[in-house]
Amino acid sequence: MTPSRTAFAAILAKDLRSELRTLQSLPAMALFSVTTFVIFRFGLDRTSLSGSLAAGVLWATLLFAGVLGINRLFVAEREEGGFDAIRLAPIDRSVLFAAKVAALLIYLAALELVAVPIFAVFFLDGGAGLGPLVAVLLLTDLGLAATGTLISSMAVNSRARDLLVPLVLLPLVVPLMIAATGATEPLLSLGGPSYHRFGTWLMVLGLYDLIFSLVGYAVFDFLLED
């Protein structure tokens, strides 16, 4: 068997190289988030947001932008025979799951590097809450990446892939979004960040990440079967 670390690095490097070369996911995700912020800004007719409204606008935008990347996560494997190549190689198939989660995590982080500063410029009076927001972003991204990878691998064989991913994914990430907005809300409060129940929400996010990472690891091998 090929060491899992070697296979993981190979698949992740392949995905990132392909994305950098073709730019099929990241620019679309970033453009979507910027456009959505513009729509919210003029739709709400507010130049400043705080608390739950700010958290809702941020996470709704990031979630739907993330779905664009999740939709395309396994397209190359499906259309170019990558699934077969990986199934023929002497590797633990769960490595593919781990590498795809890592790739999606990097895409989401890159998206947030663009989207969060723009969100702050559009809607926030100050950037005091952005430091601790990084922890919320990381934990939410991990949960979204684990769940998104799982759903994307199931949907990729369907012709209705673009429809199936949001239909199945969105209900599954409701708890994640509740926890993410719950943790973000006090950070973006009017008058500066507070940490009311912040730790509790982070623990909920961590638990969600753990559960869906383990579920993905456990069932991914079966999903690759014919």
């Binding site: 698949i11 392909s18 023929l88």
Partner: protein, 222 residues
Amino acid sequence: MRSSPEKAEPAIVVAALRRDYGDRPALDGVAFELAAGESLVVLGPNGAGKTTLLRILATLLRPSGGEARVLGCSLPSEAWKLRGKIGYLGHEPLLYRDLSGRENLHFQARLHGIEREAAEARIEELLRTIGMDRRADERVAELSAGMRQRLSICRCVLHQPELLLLDEPDSNLDVEGRDLARELIGPGTGRTRVVVTHDPERHLPEADQVLRLGIGERAVVS
């Protein structure tokens, strides 16, 4: 006193093999044995189940019934033991279109756990042999179907598999390409081979056995 050598186990043993797609049987009652180093040529019309048979032997499809034993491993229960021992050349080249040919082969080499320097040497040797060394840095999407097939042949034998499962290996290849491909996947390599073909004139002379599949008919081995 030396013990008498035991008869070697065949490389492939298939008995009453069946595969259904829903209610439709794609393959039914296939049986043959193939010794190590021998070549089996599989013939039959479109839809007879040739590709299905090959994908079952490659562990990419589960049989619906019957027995299949490949390189001493029962399918599908011991399929995991066969990973890395099979070279599979299918209808799809199994190459990523946005990577170059060389990048694809390096990616495959890493998946198969081949050390970097050994992989480098092996890839260059294969690319030279198949006549692709000058085009290997171009993206696969920009190559012709024949060139992709040449790269796919390199991918198929990169990890020195014991068993070659070749689904119409000559497709899209020109005359020169076919001759070069023989060096890597022909009977002279000494590997056990199962070759699906629509070109019996070319492949029958090198066959140790021939399996004829028909639609709704019993498979015949000769």
